[in-house]
Symmetry: C2
Subunit: 385 residues, 2 copies
């Protein structure tokens, strides 16, 4: 496959942007990425979004944004894979440039979620699960994750408090990310006393929703070979895999097979091993997903993911730095945008732009975006050259 | 770009499939295409759909269908470009195979629209228009097309009855297509007396919605060079273009610039001219769109598209055969599936499988799928070899 470089990146803060429309949020990230790339045109636009039809009454976000940002006449489409929409759009853009049919693409992940009441958003998010066999039975998305977390704790003997380091690390890192939704340090005590959402998931196990957009401009790597001033960030690997859509259909609901499949393919493509990954932006929608992601991707043995947090290995100075800009937990989780935030954040690490949460000498980073409860997982490995 | 062949095609009838779920309809078309291709696995699944989040409460149709049809572990995503979702998914699949990252793909366009009340469907379809600047003002999709048709009649001096041949041809051709929604011949008299929907669009200017799915299996062309028994159908060109999302933003609302742009690019890629196109499956959601499509794609001069119908040039025996399987008007318009029906139907023509509406010696065909009121248009040229 043709080698692709990330020429520019951009993002908005994740927040309750009640003063900005869907258009304005997506446009802001798009323009930031174009400016960072020094580009005034691209051949095509790929938009990752999950909820605009349900929350904003707006479909066809490809044309919606190509029109708004002035990419008239260009190709534009929307990709949806629930909370994995952002990385799915990035991968679709990669494929298009790699095919040789186009020579540049802008990928935008965007979501505006806070203009509706909470129960409407909960119902909209449930469309990621199986409508006939999960949602019809009354289960919500957090409910599904709570069942998985209960089983994990029972199976491997962990207590709820053992998950605290995941959230503490995410909140600590977000303190230094101006784009993060939450700027608030937390402690083990606060984690333990936080309000219950769905046993055993409490408020500090769960990521906050939000409005936000993140974007990147991609081009064939040979076109930026000589770019001065900062390392060239290239896509060393891209892979996507699925599991069953319903959690109850899985042989082992505690194993993220699609994370395993897509990460394995990426390791082979990039010719690296987990130990070579300097930074891993994983999909910590709930603290249980952090443990399962670390295990499925080869950073910990089955049932031992929690140990990495307890041993202080996950901080920017640790052996397996995760959520270095706050992760879903504290940067926030504007669902269809999240995958692009992860790509942008890994690129920032590889460029050495992360200040107090910079991972020293990071040359290889991985981003992993999950749609549904592990149903669709897209993994990318980026490299600084 | 790597040359791609269509190895297999499949479709369900377009109907009110109240006895079948979204899963079953999509699965039926997918299995038909896989069987026709003689394939039991593909590397990836691309699903085109517009309305499932709004009508069926189901997002993430990629994994939803990869799970249902047994493509476990494989990659699967959904593409949405309003009524252009089907062809947008086909193009995304083409790009992925052309990139060399995957070696085969199944593309399914699917829509289940008839389980909701008419006003719900009308509201859901309006999400293809501009939510802030069109829909908020109370305009529906048929309303937008009615304004365009009024202006066209005023500008170029045509009467409503002059559009009758488009609908008559579509209905006549659908008589011989077992998958068509309507099997009912119509006359000029009936066309003239049909119930008004939004002046000047009456019931026989408008395509019926429906439930349906159509699918194709695509692979690199070199893999089927020696396939026996029927001509190899290859993709000679693929292009996608956008216009403004709102009709009122266009300099000229009577010109489908995205049809022009994408068709022009396809003619160049395939090295053909309009006169070389033996069959043209265009997007006749409303009769006015037929005239505008014929003009933008170079089959008629500006304001003269209607003349092709009046001169009897659009029938299977004519100079510019269109809607040879019934078109949106009579095969039906299950919105996110329509683009894949068009691909399947052009492939059927190139294989010589269309019986009484077969275009003699058809070797080159074009399919054109429109999202919104001309906002996003995807064109493909297929060739029999």
């Amino acid at each position: 496959m043709r080698k692709i470089a990330i020429l520019g990146i951009g993002q908005t803060s994740v927040d309750e942007h009640w003063d900005k429309s869907l258009r304005e949020i997506g446009g802001e990230a798009a323009f930031a990425a174009m400016q960072d790339a020094g580009a005034d045109k691209v051949d095509a636009l790929f938009v990752g979004n999950m909820l605009a039809p349900l929350i904003d009454g707006q479909n066809q976000l490809g044309t919606f944004f190509s029109d708004w940002i002035g990419l008239w006449h260009r190709e534009a489409i929307k990709i949806e894979a629930a909370c994995g929409s952002g990385a799915a759009a990035f991968r679709a853009g990669l494929m298009a440039v790699a095919s040789g049919d186009i020579e540049s693409a802008l990928v935008v992940g965007v979501e505006k979620m806070t203009d509706k009441a909470g129960h409407d958003v909960t119902a909209a998010l449930a469309t990621a699960a199986d409508a006939d066999y999960e949602v019809e039975q009354g289960v919500s998305f957090v409910g599904l994750n709570a069942l998985v977390m209960q089983r994990y704790m029972f199976e491997f003997g962990w207590r709820h408090t053992d998950f605290a380091p995941f959230s503490i690390n995410a909140h600590a890192n977000a303190m230094h990310n101006p784009f993060a939704r939450l700027h608030e340090k937390i402690t083990v005590e606060r984690f333990e006393k936080s309000s219950m959402v769905a046993t055993p998931i409490n408020l500090l196990d769960a990521s906050p929703i939000g409005d936000g957009a993140a974007a990147a401009v991609i081009v064939p790597a040979e076109k930026v070979a000589s770019m001065p001033g900062r390392p060239r960030v290239v896509v060393a690997a891209s892979a996507s895999a699925t599991d069953t859509i319903a959690v109850h259909s899985r042989k082992d609901p505690l194993f993220l097979s699609a994370a395993y499949d897509s990460a394995k393919r990426c390791y082979e493509m990039a010719n690296v091993e987990p130990k070579d990954i300097a930074v891993f932006e994983l999909h910590d929608a709930f603290s249980i997903m952090t443990a399962l992601s670390l295990e499925a991707c080869g950073f910990a043995e089955r049932g031992k993911g929690v140990r990495l947090g307890l041993d202080n290995e996950i901080t920017p100075a640790g052996r397996v730095p995760i959520c270095t800009r706050g992760g879903l937990k504290a940067r926030g989780h504007p669902v269809g945008a999240t995958g692009m935030y992860q790509i942008v954040e890994v690129a920032q690490q590889l460029r050495g732009e992360c200040g107090k949460t910079q991972v020293d000498g990071a040359k290889i980073g991985m981003a992993q975006n999950i749609g549904g409860s592990g149903a669709s997982i897209i993994t990318h490995i980026l490299k600084a050259e």
